[in-house]
Amino acid sequence: MARIEIDGQSYDVQDGDNLLSSCLSLGLDLPYFCWHPAMGSAGACRQCAIIQYKDAEDQRGRLVMACMTPVKEAMRISIDAEQARQFRSDNIELLMTNHPHDCPVCEEGGECHLQDMTVMTGHTFRRYRGRKRTHNNQNLGPFINHEMNRCIACYRCVRFYDEYAGGKDLQVLGMHNNVYFGRFEDGALENEFSGNLVEVCPTGVFTDKTFSARYTRKWDLQTAPSICIHCSLGCNTAPGERYGELRRIINRYHGEINGYFLCDRGRFGYGFVNSQKRIVMPGIKGQTETTAEIAENHFRNLLKYAKSVIGIGSPRASLEANFALRSLVGEANFFLGLEDAEHTLLNAIVEILFNGGIRSPSLRETEQADAVLIMGEDVTHSAPRLALSLRQAVRNASFDMAHKMHIPLWQDAAIRQLGPIRSPLFIASICSTRLDDVATGTYQGSPDDIARFGFAIAHCLDESAAEPVDLSEDEKSLARSIAKALKQAQRPLIVSGTSCLSVAVIQAAYNVAKALPAQDKQLTFTLPECNSLGLAIMNGRPLQQAFDSINDGLADTVVILENDLYRRASHQSVDGFLEKAAHVVVIDNLENQTVGRAELVLPAATFAESEGTLVNNEGRAQRYFPVYPAADPIRGSWQWLTRLENSQWRHHHALTAACASAFPYLAAIVHAAPQTDNIIKGSKIPRQPHRYSGRTAMHANIKVSEPGQPQDMETPFAFSMEGAMAHVQPALLPVIWAPGWNSNQAINKFQQETGGHLRDGDAGARLIKPSGSHLPWFGHIPPAFEPEPGLWRIMSLPHIFGSEELSLQSTPLAERLPDLCVLLNPQDAESLGVDPGDPIEICDPARNFLLKFPVNIEKTLPRGLLGITAGRPEFQPLKFLDQVTLNKANPEQQPNSEAPL
């Protein structure tokens, strides 16, 4: 701590921080552009000028850039000095000379940092009368608009995109007063985190194209705290609604998880909520028109007259919905809805996380790691936001070096000048990954080989760990060097996950983590879906047993919760199961094959229209809240399951509490969201900003009198602009706003310190307490993979845009799907006589034709493996086969029309 004087007042601030960040942490207003709490200082915009005095006597002082000036004990500065004010106002006037002043048609308007800073500096009158330089804009693909004339050249975009996120296709072009931030030519931005440009750019150069299509000002959007449901990390989001439509998603700061950034799947994958495939009415087979009441009665009767009912849960449904189903059908009749392989994997992971004695880190903690080993994951595709964190972890070595050289850590340019000094990152994966560019070493192999490789590393670290036999010399020496680097680390991190569908890989990852000598070691697993961990903790039975119980006649009725079984098991087995079941009830939000086979379909609300608790991969339970009410007769899944009169739960919180007491591991979920007792009694937190407009008019085309606001009986929020905003914990704020701060950068006002934790704490309850105990070494080492001539093993490789069920139904993402092709090793391709782009026939081992797809060559894919995009419906028939045979297809024929779906 240091004591400094700002405009005559004494303050205690963090030693070594820069003055801008300190001033903002103190809650003072000081305008800035180029500095970003996650990216440090650049000193490029000159907006944060203040006066620094030499000593107590100095009356004149001199202008310094606050973001480039370190805090020193007893320093005297002034933000308010006339000279500083004048400088800042002149500076912004200069930055704005070329700005088109087109706020009324600019989508940044109303949440624009440039507007806020302009008002803050008092530059309210334009004097410049000269010509303005103009630019051509580029088509940057389906996600981002480009309007370069609005640029003030703060350099934040390239600093984020290139330096922070590793994207190479957006650069600064040109020079002096004619700089351009764009691509070499038109085309979709390649980086998976491009959407953050929308929030990083302080002006309206980069805006959300998916939002443009149905644009609404920030102050007219209704918002609630939400959680991203598109992967297992649980990033915090702020979805915005208008006219019953989800219009966009932006980042909601969480100090332990996503910080300031989301991935593009999370930001742009929301379109399914508005999609044509939404189920909006209940359906009963054979009846044309059904109301909610009829459907509910039908449901009741089915349950009443059934011989026995089983329930199939879902890793994409909330804990409460799953628990309600489990309670409805009884513990013995509840199935998790996961195929055997995934079920086993998740159980293995739960066991390791809860009883393995090794901490599972938050994303912020992963960024602190000084050595990382990834086993079997291409994290950019399986847990995207984690990849962004690991990219920062790699920089820790250069931070250490900077520290030794007394360079403050926020001196971004100076640290980058130190050159590519990287903390070790090792990646063992099936084929090349999107993080390879910052990796110290990579290893490619089949899942079995990755596991063996991991076991070898563990053995190098600790001889009592099992040792694989017959490793090649190369593998051994790489394993040794990785072990050495991990051993030297103080905060080593092991990352693994479910992508390889291999328990051996998980176990090997645990062995490595267990063998590490460091106290502060961490182990994290990426999981397939947003509530995979929560569901696995509930301890139900695997899907196959559900099939058995119907097929064996033990039960005749099945209730399926938000789960397309055709994604989980082979077509045949699901067909057989659904045929055999006398009655099939499906509760879901989108049309899918399973829905198509149901006798009774109940329309479920999505994450945007209901509440629930999800457990992320770290083991953190988090609550999401409805952004807007579900359009009648759509209801939250938990409501369909608890509205039956024998139900004990009228309200969501009661259901949460019951779930918490039913499972000791879930006991803490009642604290998944901050308590709201201290909010003024009787009032709720408004979801709509106080400037929300048009409430009396927006439904005037239907009815002139203003309808009452929908009531929310379940959450602390109101579907209204009225309510109590004082004393609301920042983690519960639907909209981030402070007087004078209309952009998302207002978050400064709600953090303990800039870039730190939210005041009153970040949300979520960690369910996993690191225990002292350890599991014994795992010793089941698979044999090395040997390609069998003529047979290929299917590898389902996750893809950020191609694999996740719900975002796949979102229009803008469809434009970024990977090519529909299969990957082959070059030698395999040669042996089959196929060139890139040639179609290939894929047959089962008995040589029955299955599918035909073009081939892509992947140099890093080991021989004997066939890569497909995980989760993509087109490849579904391959997913449940172990091996296939391949034939060069006759190129004259049209590729693949036989594929089911």
């Binding site: 190479k168 957006l170 650069q171 600064v172 072009l173 070499f184 090349s432 390879d436 070493g441 290893y443």
Partner: protein
Amino acid sequence: MKEPIEKPDFEGLSLAEIREIKAGMSHYEDKTAASIEALKIIQKHRRWVSDECLVAVAELLEMSSAQLEGVATFYNLIYRQPVGKTVIHYCNSVTCWMLGAEDISERLCRYLNVELGEISADGEYTVLPIVCLGACDHAPVVLVGDKLKLDVTENAVNEIFGR
């Protein structure tokens, strides 16, 4: 562990260019450090850098075309559009601007019958502005090809073209 990208031909570049660029690259640990040199090699052969060449050079240096474009557009003496055999750069930074840079540029353009950046009809000349050439004490200054003309007067045309 990654194999180097082995491309037999970088479409659009001549063998001589590739050879010279590769020789340049060998002086640096980081290939991209050779980017300015590579662009100059292209200009030596072609006077300017076309889109096609830029993409090929980027590939050769294993950097993105956007990154190389960032380099190319940063430097005044890298031309991303065709130029005449001799480029006439008149300095338009503060001192030269005060002492008549704009007038000189106008005279030169009128004489050559071109706008800034255009090639004269005979293919010989292009006129472009440039930043301070470090000879402010002799302002205004014009760089003709690689020759510096100091203390240029309203007789610029004479002083530069010898008539």
